[in-house]
Symmetry: C2
Subunit: 337 residues, 2 copies
């Protein structure tokens, strides 16, 4: 019988939604002939992001992840993303590792889309984050930064500071419909950030989206990082600033100093923050909050009629931005460095 | 960034959508302590029906399927469904087999819902069905009927012939908005079916929903049957009639006699159809088409505002119904019995 899901059904429960391109056994068989991983046993669409179609692929040699890249991903970026995962995995970081076909290529085509097979990572992402998890995330982020130091490919951060003005312009006319006074507040913050944005920080490849659902734990131990599809070149400490925003606030928007200290110190023990990075961190965190506030605001104001997924609340990041705007030093994040 | 899927996104590609109740690692750990299948390694929501939340559960002892039963399933029916799968699996039918907890129970509770773990079945469902697959489906259906003969539980078919009048009443006022003349046609067919519906046929447990997406193949071989959540008591040959409708028509609505013959003869070789069943099959197929026409019609006419999934086309079954209404005997389905 035809299921009819409505937005009311979705509201009623905590849900994850996933949309997949359908793949027939015949075209999958043809695709797999290029690989040395044995015959097909099963393929199940899984809920891991809605940007791409992700499947758990079972062949006679085990379970792997199959991704079909949908139109939201620029195919020209795929060699960077897949190359980065391979580079990091080769240096011992636990992340999905591209499986190459018989021609040595990580990228193929399936169902009219670019497609890649990567190794399957065990673990669950933490719904309620602890200070100990924050410490492990800080350390894992630092390990990723160290491991990517000699990665040869480059990718510009399309959502770096210079892009924020354009995002704000797309949202400013209707920003006050979300909250009165938001337009003036963001405008002032943006002026400040553009004027004081730190330069000369150590650069490298950053994950740029290391939110809790991209970090897996097995029991108490961090077991791996996933979803490198925002990775790009930027200041390494900016990546830590994104994580402080994503991991260290409580649901009531208060900053948890224990988690903040754990994450910063966990990072610093693995890759020592330079003096200039430590000084810049409050401003970087303020900028990171601005970046997510702006993209969420644009999404919020541009929900198409009939949208299936309610965009994330931009005001969560307005509250985080306000916190950072009062921070002066690492001590305001609980850290004693 | 917040993904905004719209119905336009969905229309653009062949998609499968799935919605899941979110399960935290903490509550899953507690749930799994009741089972003897080792510690949790991962849980992925998978696209297998949207009636329930289905997950691929990986623990140290392997991969299994975890189902959370959502409100569309009556919990009182779960012992029937799970008991049937266990009964069939014990008799060698390849279907999901409930995994019992330490108290010997197949049913538990997780995330506020009834929950069960079943074994994971390999295979892919065929997107384009062949006559050989139809023959195997007929044989598998007959094996299921034989294997369930001594299953002790009963479940009434809530969508059997006596229920059709009520479905039609719910749809008749607006039926002609779907296709002019549909109301009168269905009304006439319904009168005929109510008057001539066969009695005295061999009864038993039927699958009642053995569409292609519920039958798995590994290469050319049928590897198993899934989704017993419509199973109920009814005439065994009515199950075959449902399969003729679901498998043996071409996309242009023409009946494929090769497939029809293969399915009927595949069934008959495994469980010999009685004379009365053979004679009744055209009428049963006509009734099965009516049942799916009516439920699809009700769904079609009751799409809630903001519905995420477009209901299936009821007119597909109008065309099938028209075919069956001209059939006189098994020869009209290609079979030479």
């Amino acid at each position: 019988m035809s299921p009819q899901l409505t937005r009311d059904d979705l509201r009623g429960k905590s849900i994850v939604m996933a949309v997949y391109t359908d793949v027939s056994p015949e075209e999958l068989d043809v695709f797999l002939q290029d690989y040395d991983i044995g015959p097909l046993l099963s393929l199940k669409g899984i809920a891991e992001g809605v940007e791409n179609s992700n499947f758990l692929l079972h062949t006679q040699t085990g379970y792997r992840l199959l991704t079909l890249y949908e139109k939201r991903v620029d195919e020209a970026d795929l060699p960077f993303f897949l190359g980065l995962m391979e580079h990091l995995a080769a240096r011992g970081l636990n992340c999905p590792q591209p499986v190459k076909n018989r021609r040595g290529e990580a990228l193929g085509r399936l169902a009219g889309r670019a497609a890649a097979i990567v190794t399957f990572l065990e673990g669950m992402w933490p719904r309620r984050q602890t200070a100990d998890q924050c410490a492990q995330v800080g350390a894992a982020l630092a390990r990723m930064h160290l491991a990517s130091a000699d990665f040869p490919l480059r990718r510009r951060n399309a959502l770096a500071m210079p892009a924020w003005r354009g995002l704000f312009d797309a949202a400013r006319a209707r920003a006050d419909t979300v909250q009165p006074g938001l337009c003036a507040y963001v405008s002032g913050e943006l002026d400040y950030l553009e004027k004081h944005w730190p330069a000369g920080l150590p650069q490298g490849v950053i994950h740029a989206d290391l939110f809790p659902d991209n970090v897996f734990f097995l029991g108490a131990q961090l077991s791996g990082l996933i979803d490198f599809y925002f990775a790009c070149d930027d200041a390494l400490a900016y990546d830590l600033a994104i994580c402080l925003n994503a991991w260290c606030f409580e649901p009531d928007a208060s900053f948890n100093f224990t988690k903040g200290a754990a994450m910063i110190e966990g990072y610093d023990r693995t890759r020592a923050l330079t003096r200039v990075e430590k000084e810049a961190l409050p401003l970087l965190a303020r900028g990171a909050a601005m970046r997510f506030l702006l993209t969420r605001l644009v999404d919020w104001l541009n929900v198409p009629p009939g949208a299936l997924v309610r965009p994330k609340d931009p005001l969560e990041y307005f509250r985080k931005l306000r916190f950072h705007s009062h921070a002066q030093s690492l001590r305001d994040y609980g850290a004693q460095l």
